[in-house]
Amino acid sequence: MFTTPFTFLKAAGGGATLLLDAYPGAKRAYSVRKLSSTYAGSALRVRRSSDNAEQDIGFVGEDLDTSALTTFVGANNGFITTWYDQSGNGANATQTTALFQPQIAADGVIWTINSKPTIYALNTRSLMTFTAFTTTEVAQLLVGKKKTAITDRMTGFSGNAVTIAGPLLAHWDDNNIYFQWKNYYSFPNSSISSTAYEVLFGTTITTSTSQIWRNGSSLALSNNASAIADIYSCIFAYNENQAYYSEALEQELVIWDSGQSTNSAGIQSNVNAYYSIY
């Protein structure tokens, strides 16, 4: 496990340093915890299955307000209509079609990993989109786990490419961890056959090299220069409309439009201090 000075810094109010206070400049930031002291909005907007009413759910301190969530959902299912962007760019991830919305609660029970709330991206249908962007440098953070089987997929930010590959950070159904970005894609030489809780972090090092980290450890890579559609526009699925969906529990997805290689250990340490992953 990595430790950095950031682990021991404390924010006003006594909690740990919020991720984006320590590592600002994110392009999109979705999480079940509060990521920035300057963000004053809600975490999620939830639709309950009993009557399809919707309600924003905020934070208590740095945690999701699970009491408000439970009160609102009752004994029913809860689905995410909006995952609010905490980056300051206002690019919320949304899904306006009920059958394609990921789940936050089933029969009144909030999905959790290690007692922390999580979003369940259901295979074959969950997809959320946001205002698209392109970038030549990128760092992606993804926290969660494959749902049940090693053949499940856990997917972070991706795009809307159809005829060529698109950008991606994912633990795939072939067990490789892929990190694809503009004109390049990278993956470990050895696959990781696991459904364990994990934090994945991919970052550009130069314009032609990259690095993937899993639970604080760097992975050996194969790098391949290829034509990649460099537009980011969705989460939970690889390339919108290509039927590659996550079957995963996902808690935090952050993307920077700059390489964060010098911050990789600190970012993962910040995540681990909150979620207790490794």
Partner: protein
Amino acid sequence: MITKTITGYQYITSEEADNARLLCNQHYGIPKTAEDETLNWVLPAETTLNSPAFWYIQWAESLTQVFGQPTDFEVNFPDPIGPGNT
């Protein structure tokens, strides 16, 4: 191109498909308020590689009470491109 057998509901015209969307919204009371993010219960998809083209809705349990029993039909899709492939 790959061909998949889809279980669901098939529509010849876009008007028929849109009427199905509206019928489902009416059944489930979507959207509930003007402030809600959820605008539709389900969205029909248009085939791009079938000739003639048609519209369809893939089956889900909640659709049976609106549309009745689904049928099976074939839909052509572009070859999917997985990670690590270009």
